[in-house]
């Protein structure tokens, strides 16, 4: 297999997703876990953008002598929804963590888990 620019880009995107995922597991601090989740979702967004750019990177605007190598707008439109949802979930989580921080100032997930076992 020839290793071209797009293969390297794919590798970087998947590496971002994986690093975010491992961050969620291995970081102790709750805020760090949330940031790791954001890194992972950034990777997923990048994957959508990369798939959209498969046929070209031009903006698909109808003009005289239109170029055929334009980016596919559908994945880009779809991922906008996911960005908004991801952003709102992150906001909600940070609010939740702020409230938890009053009684658990260290915010270490393992200790909080132990404290609230039903």
């Amino acid at each position: 297999m020839e290793i071209g620019g797009s293969t390297i880009l794919y590798a970087c995107v998947y590496a971002t997703i994986l690093m975010g995922f491992f961050g969620i597991i291995f970081k102790e601090h709750l805020v760090m876990k949330i940031i790791a989740m954001d890194v992972m979702s950034t990777g997923v967004v990048a994957l959508f953008v990369l798939v959209a750019a498969r046929t070209g990177v031009r903006t698909p605007i109808l003009t005289e002598g239109a170029s055929s190598s334009y980016a596919d707008p559908v994945p880009q439109a779809v991922i906008l929804t996911a960005i908004v949802i991801g952003f709102s979930i992150q906001a909600l989580m940070l609010v939740g963590v702020m409230k938890l921080a009053r009684d658990n100032p260290t915010l270490e997930a393992r200790i909080i888990e132990k404290g609230y076992e039903p």
Partner: protein
């Protein structure tokens, strides 16, 4: 026959109106906070009407909104059963909270949750499903953390975390499907690279609470308010299961994979439920097991979902009224018979006793299976009967009346009446089940289960290690499930 073109034409606007109504009402509750309960109840009635209209629809309703990349909906009889379950459970929750000091915020979230769960039951493309499932995740988080104690906040946060990470994997799966077919339709899973079905199935298993990915479920249900647990077990977790059923029915090569997970879940959940001592935990683990029952026979899962949703919601609401949740202590002190009756009817229905909805559902599911699968599920049925014997054989006294803050309010009784009447009426849903052979089989399960319970009662309180239910193992478990699913899809369906 005359052409049947007219009903779909009238159904399309009705569908669109029905799917937007909960959101419109949800956001306008803040303008009219005095009538929050009435508005919420009215929306559930519209859902009941819609589900009934779907049942009489001769063929499945497919709607494509906008163009080829727009939203596509598919509503058929399977959806109708799930919508009906969701509507009845939501209505019961509204009635249950009628005379409680819950604010309009609660009802806004409840009705938006109702709407987004309905949306998962009729959407037919991967992206609409994504949006609906994320909505379900967010509103469920808000409902779980509504009491705003640290404990519910943490459990809600945990739920949101697990569900959002699963949905990120889901998105990766959808983009792989899109890259292959330039479309987001469910059929696109066929022919897409094997990673796509593996990623999407994994995410749905987590959302639906299936097998080890579903181990977030017991703790979440135990910590949440009993009305919220009733809503989660009765309707919300089915939002993750329904797309799995849809996929199993659309792509028959994935059906064995999904059935295998169903059987695994049924056995795992029932084992957990058998050895638990906390009443709410028993119910939550049993939900895990019952969700597995839905998956083993996708074609007939609709009726099972209705039967389970109604009975489980009844039991969660009733357990919320008990003076304590520890079953060992409940065996020492009698409970009022008025509370024991709904517990027993719910238990009998889930165990599959005749003249209750669970009987038809169980027979229907067992008839749809291959012999070796039926053997596995018979074992699970026996375990279910033994589990619910814990509730049936609780001591009770008719003279006991609950007083003080603990006393059940009028809304509670209305909710229980609604659910129990539905359980009994729904037993007419599958009348062919009533043969002597079926009745004897089910009674043998009941008798066998109760015998197992009687013999093993002393030993049924093993402490189960909770390590697998903690936050980090749950997230890490997703990667393991991905590998397992990848291998399953690769070796079973492609070869």
């Amino acid at each position: 026959m005359t052409p049947l073109a007219t009903p779909p034409l009238t159904m399309t606007p009705f569908t669109i109106l029905w799917i937007t109504l909960p959101f419109a009402v949800g956001f306008s509750i803040y303008l009219l906070p005095q009538v929050d309960r009435i508005l919420t109840l009215a929306v559930t009635l519209v859902s009941v009407a819609y589900a009934s209209a779907l049942v009489f629809q001769p063929e499945a309703l497919t709607i494509d909104l906008l163009d080829s990349f727009g939203v596509s909906l598919l509503a058929d009889k399977l959806s109708a059963w799930f919508i009906l379950t969701n509507a009845l459970v939501t209505a019961a929750i509204v009635l249950h909270g009628w005379d409680s000091p819950k604010t309009e915020f609660f009802y806004t979230q409840l009705i938006i949750l109702h709407g987004s769960v309905n949306a998962t039951f009729i959407c037919a493309d991967l992206i609409s499903l994504y949006v609906a499932l994320e909505m379900v995740g967010i509103t469920t988080f808000l409902l779980i953390s509504y009491p705003r104690t640290d404990k519910t906040l943490w459990v809600g946060l945990r739920y949101l975390f697990v569900s959002n990470v699963a949905m990120l994997f889901y998105l990766m799966g959808t983009v792989l499907v899109y890259r292959t077919h330039q479309s987001f339709a469910f059929e696109g899973l066929r022919g897409a690279p094997i990673e796509a079905p593996a990623l999407i199935l994994m995410a749905l298993l987590v959302k639906g609470g299936i097998f080890v990915s579903g181990l977030w479920l017991p703790q979440t249900n135990v910590a949440a308010d009993s009305a919220v647990s009733a809503m989660m077990s009765g309707a919300v977790e089915k939002a993750g299961v329904f797309p799995l059923l849809r996929i199993a029915l659309t792509l028959e090569e994935l059906e064995p994979v999904i059935q295998t997970f169903g059987m695994g879940t049924a056995l795992l959940g029932v084992t957990y439920a058998l050895v638990s001592t906390d009443a709410k935990r028993v119910l939550a683990c049993s939900t895990l097991s019952q969700l597995g029952w839905l998956l083993v026979a996708p074609a007939v899962a609709g009726f099972y979902a209705l039967a389970h949703g109604l009975a489980k919601a009844t039991m969660f609401l009733t357990v919320g009224q008990l003076p304590q949740r520890d079953l060992a202590q409940l065996r020492q002190r009698p409970i009022p018979t008025a509370l024991w009756i709904p517990l027993t009817v719910g238990s009998l229905s889930i165990s599959g006793a005749p003249f209750l909805a669970g009987f038809g559902a169980k027979v229907l599911t067992l008839d749809a299976l291959l012999p070796w699968q039926a053997t596995v599920m018979n074992t699970a049925a026996l375990g279910t009967a033994a589990t619910y014997a814990k509730f049936i054989f609780l001591p009770h006294r008719p003279t006991l009346v609950m007083a003080g803050d603990n006393a059940p309010k009028k809304g509670f009784w209305l909710a229980i009446w609604l659910l129990l009447c539905s359980v009994i009426i729904a037993s007419a849903g599958y009348r062919d089940a009533y043969t002597w052979a079926n009745a004897l089989k089910v009674l043998a399960f009941l008798g066998g289960g109760w015998l197992v319970y009687g013999l093993l009662r002393r030993h049924l309180t093993m402490p189960v290690p909770r390590a697998a239910e903690e936050f980090e193992p749950l997230i890490g478990g997703m990667s393991v499930m991905l590998v397992v699913l990848f291998w399953m899809v690769w070796s079973w369906s492609v070869a």
